[in-house]
């Protein structure tokens, strides 16, 4: 429930006027004055207006100080930072594809390009961000993978490290953070290791963990590394980068909502294969079908109300999936949904024939066979209590 705006004091002009008159008229020099007189009245009018504007400014300031009453995205980004939540910017529209008739083995490398078309002839480019492998499922050789729409794909771009600040800056504010990959070569030896996005509410991160934190700025994102000391515990968080460290990032810059509605997909050329795998073969019998209908969930900017709802709940979850609210905020925080209405969670205890120890969930519009459903299930299972089983799909 959103609170009404904070009002430290009345914003009624007449009240302000009366208060000024009331205060000054108690002073002995002015007890005899007629404040309704034209000259004095004019001065008090001016002072009341001056006060009014100051109070308006004050109320704006105070309201921006709390996430629930903030009106500006910049303020919410700052509040979210305080609670360990990275506010996403533009988000890619995505679709799950099933590839068949592309050979008996082989794989598709990350950042392979796929063309999506609409019935009206519009075309957009979509990209894989993870490798996809052909495998036999019920006797059929196929691969299922998710593709993300993007205007630009930035692949393995080197960004300079700042060892003093233990960070590196990505000068792109419109990237989709769920497509961001960070690889680090700590000593500049040429061996890059992929780092995982961590959050400040995540407990027990040690110096041996290969993690990075992400902080949204007005003009881009700060990729923060370890070597920083927790002022509360004195503990050094994760491993530090140095001047020799090489950092490379890959991410997609999406079109946002304009990427929704594409349904006809085909590879642009023959995609390369990941190291150690064969290239797939494209022929007339190759089919690439969207198993979930048209591409969807593209966002131009985050919904402010959704942020106000989820940021404090994300903090409340402390990265653990215990309550329904925890699960919703973890899924939204990980980019699987953007509003609580997009997620349905039913505990086994709520069923007519209870199945205690099981939690059923569903992301609206996402089928159980989709990669999104599989990885979301895995995510919740990792963060749920022992003894609780997470199942995708809500019993009817």
């Amino acid at each position: 429930m959103a609170i009404p705006n904070i009002k430290l004091t009345s914003l009624e002009y007449d009240d302000i006027y009366k208060q000024i008159v009331s205060y000054i008229s108690t002073k002995s020099e002015f007890t005899d004055y007629n404040f309704e007189g034209s000259a004095l009245s004019t001065i008090v009018d001016l002072l009341a207006y001056n006060t009014f504007y100051q109070i308006v400014f004050q109320n704006i300031l105070v309201n921006e100080m709390f996430i629930d009453s903030s009106q500006k995205l910049e303020s919410i980004i700052s509040h979210a930072k305080l609670q360990g939540y990275t506010v996403p910017s533009r988000q890619s529209s995505f679709s799950t594809l099933r590839l068949r008739g592309a050979g008996d083995n082989g794989a598709v490398a990350p950042y392979s390009r796929i063309q999506g078309s609409r019935a009206n002839g519009d075309v957009k480019l979509f990209y894989t961000i993870d490798p996809a492998y052909l495998e036999s499922i019920d006797g059929v050789i196929e691969a299922t993978f998710t593709v993300y729409e993007a205007k630009n794909a930035i692949i393995k771009q080197l960004i300079p490290p700042n060892s003093t600040k233990q960070s590196a800056f990505i000068t792109q504010v419109n990237l989709d953070i769920k497509t961001l990959k960070v690889e680090v070569d700590l000593e500049g030896s040429g061996v890059f290791v992929e780092y995982r996005l961590a959050t400040s509410v995540e407990p027990n991160i040690t110096t041996s963990d290969n993690v990075f934190f992400l902080e949204r700025k007005l003009d881009g994102y700060d990729v923060m590394f370890g070597g920083l000391t927790d002022p509360l515990t004195g503990r050094i968080i994760a491993s530090a980068i140095n001047d020799n460290t090489k950092i490379r990032v890959s991410y997609l810059i999406p079109s946002g909502i304009a990427g929704d509605g594409y349904s006809s997909f085909s590879f642009v050329g023959t995609p390369t294969a990941p190291t150690g795998y064969d290239q797939i073969s494209i022929s007339k019998s190759t089919s690439l079908v969207a198993t979930t209908g048209v591409s969807k969930n593209g966002k131009n900017q985050p919904n402010l109300d959704a942020l106000k709802f989820f940021v404090p709940r994300y903090f409340s979850s402390q990265d653990r999936a215990i309550t329904k609210s925890d699960m919703q905020s973890i899924l939204v925080g990980a980019g699987y949904a953007s509003a609580s209405e997009d997620i349905v969670i039913v505990g086994g205890e709520e069923l007519s024939i209870p199945t205690l120890g099981t939690v059923y969930f569903e992301i609206v519009g996402v089928a159980a066979t989709e990669q999104t459903a599989i990885s979301a299930t895995k995510l919740l299972q990792q963060k749920a209590s022992l003894g609780i089983s997470i199942t995708y799909g809500v019993p009817i």
Partner: protein
């Protein structure tokens, strides 16, 4: 014009002018010099000194008591900078985000920004409660979510009427017992909503049981429940105890009751422990005789069966004047 009379009229470009009139000039109070006013301001720690922000000719006029405008404006700024009077917050704004400075106006903002799940109808927290909960919320509530400790911390902090929180555990299900004293109990939905919003582990079955009572009776019940819970967790359960149907003399050795007159109720069979009742009666575990005890004051009638007595009840029998063991002399063997 009031303005001109306050400021005085004269040649503002020249070094000297003659004010036409000084409003209130004859009033003794107006003779207060601006320096006195400033001194008073210093005492009040007024942060804004009007005299420093007006043209020098006006400042001079004010010092010479030729105008009240500066004083008038100073009063205005005194009012403006007094949060108490104007309501305008003029201290460091960031202080408003300090938990110690939560006010009635900002407490809801704190709750909505950090613990929105307790923002439910029927629960109106005081400023002090909000401060208290916020101090504990991360380390003692959120990070311990799912534990009895976190549950107890939250409930006792936001519901002052809750004396203690107990949990009866089962396999993937449990009952939360909220022990409430005095008459300030709320609607059950309030407790349940807060619990479900913030704590209910989805996938498990739970229910909330409210134990509501008054005064010292409650203390004794709480103690009994604690004993029972401890026994169930770390020792024999209540079903492992002997719960024989006994007469009131059975708390001591049968042979000690020699002087007590027996009443009807005995069956004549041999007691399980092989003892024979005084006065030649043998006792039956299912229907023991009742004796009129000299110090029994709990309303037991002669010759009646006491019925089942939970032997744990005897564990806490106080050694007071009401103790039925008092006054019994051991019989000669």
């Amino acid at each position: 014009m009031f303005f001109s009379s306050l400021t005085g009229k004269g040649n503002k470009t020249g070094n000297a002018y003659t004010p036409t009139k000084i409003i209130g000039g004859e009033h003794p109070i107006v003779s207060t010099s601006i320096l006195d006013l400033l001194e008073a301001d210093l005492k009040k720690d007024t942060p804004f000194k009007v005299i420093n922000h007006v043209p020098s000719w006006l400042a001079t006029d004010s010092k010479d008591n030729n105008t009240l405008l500066v004083k008038f404006l100073q009063y205005y700024y005194d009012w403006l900078y007094s949060s108490k009077d104007s309501g305008l917050y003029v201290d460091d704004y960031i202080d408003l985000m300090d938990i110690d400075n939560i006010t009635e106006e900002t407490k809801d903002a704190f709750v909505s920004s950090f613990i929105p799940d307790i923002d439910v109808d029927g629960l109106d927290l005081t400023v002090e409660q909000v401060k208290d909960v916020l101090r504990a919320v991360k380390t003692n509530i959120f990070q311990k979510k799912g534990t009895q400790e976190a549950l107890a911390t939250l409930f006792t902090k936001i519901f002052p009427e809750i004396q203690s929180v107990g949990v009866e555990r089962g396999n993937l299900e449990f009952t939360i017992q909220l022990r409430i004293v005095n008459d300030s109990i709320r609607n059950y939905d309030v407790y349940e909503t807060v619990y479900k919003n913030l704590f209910h582990p989805v996938g498990m079955r739970s229910n909330i049981q409210i134990i509501h009572s008054f005064g010292s009776e409650e203390s004794r019940r709480t103690e009994d429940t604690i004993i029972q819970r401890e026994l169930s967790e770390s020792g024999p359960t209540t079903t492992n105890f002997d719960s024989p149907r006994i007469g009131n003399y059975f708390v001591y050795n049968m042979n000690d009751a020699e002087s007590l007159p027996a009443y009807s109720g005995e069956s004549g069979s041999t007691h399980g422990r092989g003892e024979t009742g005084a006065s030649g009666n043998t006792a039956n575990v299912s229907n023991l005789a009742t004796y009129k005890h000299p110090n029994w004051i709990y309303g037991v009638s002669d010759g009646t069966i006491l019925g089942d007595i939970n032997i744990q009840g005897l564990m806490s029998q106080p050694l007071s004047a009401n103790n039925p063991n008092l006054g019994i002399t051991q019989a000669a063997s």
